[in-house]
């Protein structure tokens, strides 16, 4: 998990999915549940940031076009 920031958006999503499944299976203990949740939330936040960054890049790319070409 130390190299999570380098993981792709998709890899992070997959890991969150895995965490959700583990939590739903109910087979993990309380502490582990909490840690998994925190990890999941951290990943979600990172994903959110990646999406935001992507959206910004997209907006910038689109915006530049709007500004320059029309």
């Amino acid at each position: 998990m130390a190299d999570a920031p380098q993981a792709t958006f998709e890899a992070k999503l997959a890991r969150i999915d895995e965490i959700v499944k583990q939590l739903e299976a109910g087979s993990v203990d309380l502490q582990k549940s909490t840690e998994l949740f925190k990890e999941g939330k951290t990943l979600a936040r990172e994903c959110e940031a990646l999406l935001k960054s992507a959206q910004e890049q997209i907006d910038r790319a689109a915006g530049r076009e709007d500004a320059s070409a029309r």
């Binding site: 958006f9 999503l13 969150i16 999915d17 965490i19 959700v20 939590l23 739903e24 109910g26 993990v28 309380l30 549940s33 909490t34 998994l36 949740f37 999941g40 939330k41 979600a44 994903c47 959110e48 999406l51 992507a54 959206q55 997209i58 689109a62």
Partner: protein, 448 residues
């Protein structure tokens, strides 16, 4: 001989004529054909159309001609040599065909036509018409050289169309004389000049005109100029159905200048549309991707929260159950039971001891009573016996009779029981209850 041996089919007249009509219709070269001959038997009809026969030596073709909207027919008379241009049709009811001409070209044209045919054959032999020789016309023509007559209608149509549709396409206008003696030289020069310009294509345009007027576009200088052009050449000459050798060697040819302009404009419009469409799809695709990711992320993010909440809730429920069970087993009851038992035992202990003491007290009291009774009894018995004995003793008191008045007589210290033992005069002593008497015997009577 051979024909007689060949199998044959029988047709009705209608079938045959219909088949022939169909056959003719399928011949492209008959779609529009110019037939050169001498007019004879000219008839003028009220609505302005003409009927005549075209003759050449002993051959004859029946012809009907009329004016269309584009041009009027020239004045003709019997004996004129014309080229009638039009279409061949079968008349089933007469079993004959006719040329339906909408154009009549007057005398001398016959020579031009021969020249046309000659040139055409030569160019064809040179392979100038071969598609593989032709240059690729760029899809998008941004700068075009328009070679045309000064203030010609063709030029105006072309320019207007482009201005309207794709105003940004630059038109390099190269004006030239397009008809009259030696026009082909001017046109060729103009084409060479155009080819030298930085253009994407050259459009050779000319508005409508008669065959003769348009004839320079069949001539070799023009054809050669087109062939040698560095830049693709598009022709847009005269009326649509007419074809010139310039059209045949051009990389693309259009019936009218407007159509050439429309072609150029259309390429741009298509490109614009394609660009817009791609841009739109690009935006939509990325939007959908982002939306998909956002939704997936939201689903997973809330999912992880829900799952964690549920996991904790399950733990809390398990905890609650355990605690409830523990509280149910609070030793308070055990404690209370034990306290009651201890109190009961304590109370029994006290009671037992108290009872014991009471019993002992009672026992002691009983014994004390018995003792007292026994004491009283033996004391009483002793007293009774003492009383009885002393009473018996009292009854034996030898002096007791004295109390009843008796007296004890003694003489000489001896109690006198028999009178005879004494004589009168003997001293005697009489003891009374209280005191004694000294006396003498006076008489003795022994019968007592």
């Amino acid at each position: 001989m051979e024909q007689r041996e060949r199998p044959y089919q029988v047709r009705t007249v209608r079938q045959f004529t219909a088949g022939m009509a169909e056959f003719l219709n399928r011949q492209p070269w008959l779609e529009r054909i110019g037939i050169k001959g001498e007019i004879s038997g000219l008839r003028v009809f009220g609505d302005g159309h003409l009927g005549f026969s075209l003759k050449e030596e002993r051959a004859l073709v029946e012809c009907i001609a009329w004016a269309d909207w584009r041009r009027s027919l020239p004045e003709v008379k019997d004996g004129d040599v014309v080229i009638a241009v039009g279409r061949v049709r079968i008349h089933p009811e007469r079993g004959a065909y006719k040329l339906y001409a909408d154009e009549l070209q007057l005398a001398g044209l016959g020579e031009l036509f021969l020249q046309y045919e000659r040139l055409r054959k030569r160019f064809l032999d040179e392979g100038l018409f071969a598609p593989e020789r032709k240059r690729a016309v760029p899809e998008l023509i941004r700068r075009v050289a328009l070679v045309t007559a000064q203030d010609g209608r063709g030029a105006q149509d072309f320019i207007k169309t482009l201005r309207d549709e794709v105003p940004f396409v630059e038109i390099v206008l190269i004006e030239t004389r397009v008809q009259g003696e030696g026009a082909e030289i001017d046109i060729a020069a103009a084409l060479d000049q155009a080819a030298a310009r930085e253009v994407d294509a050259i459009v050779l345009a000319r508005g409508g005109g008669s065959y003769v007027e348009l004839f320079p576009f069949n001539l070799e200088p023009v054809v050669r100029a087109i062939v040698r052009s560095r830049v693709p050449v598009l022709t847009a000459i005269g009326h649509e159905p007419d074809r010139h050798l310039a059209d045949d060697v051009a990389d693309l040819s259009f019936g009218t200048p407007s159509k050439a302009a429309a072609f150029i404009a259309r390429a741009w419009l298509l490109a614009r549309r394609a660009l817009d469409e791609r841009t739109h799809r690009l935006d939509r695709a990325i939007h959908e991707i982002i939306l998909h990711h956002v939704q997936t992320l939201e689903r997973l993010s809330s999912g992880v929260e829900r799952a964690a909440m549920r996991a904790v809730l399950a733990k809390r429920t398990a905890y609650r159950t355990a605690v409830d069970r523990l509280d149910l087993r609070n030793p308070q009851r055990v404690l209370s039971d034990n306290r009651e038992r201890a109190l009961r035992l304590d109370s029994r202990l006290g009671d037992a001891m108290q009872r014991r003491l009471e019993r002992e007290t009672r026992g002691l009291d009983g014994r004390r009573n018995a003792l007292d009774r026994a004491g009283t009894r033996f004391a009483n018995a002793a007293s009774t016996r003492f009383q009885r004995t002393t009473a018996a003793l009292g009854a034996c008191d030898p002096l007791a009779p004295l109390a009843r008045g008796y007296a004890i007589v003694s003489s000489g210290g001896r109690v006198v029981r028999e009178a005879a033992l004494l004589r009168p005069g003997d001293p005697i002593t009489a003891r009374l209850e209280r005191g004694t008497l000294a006396a003498r015997v006076e008489a003795v009577n022994d019968d007592g």
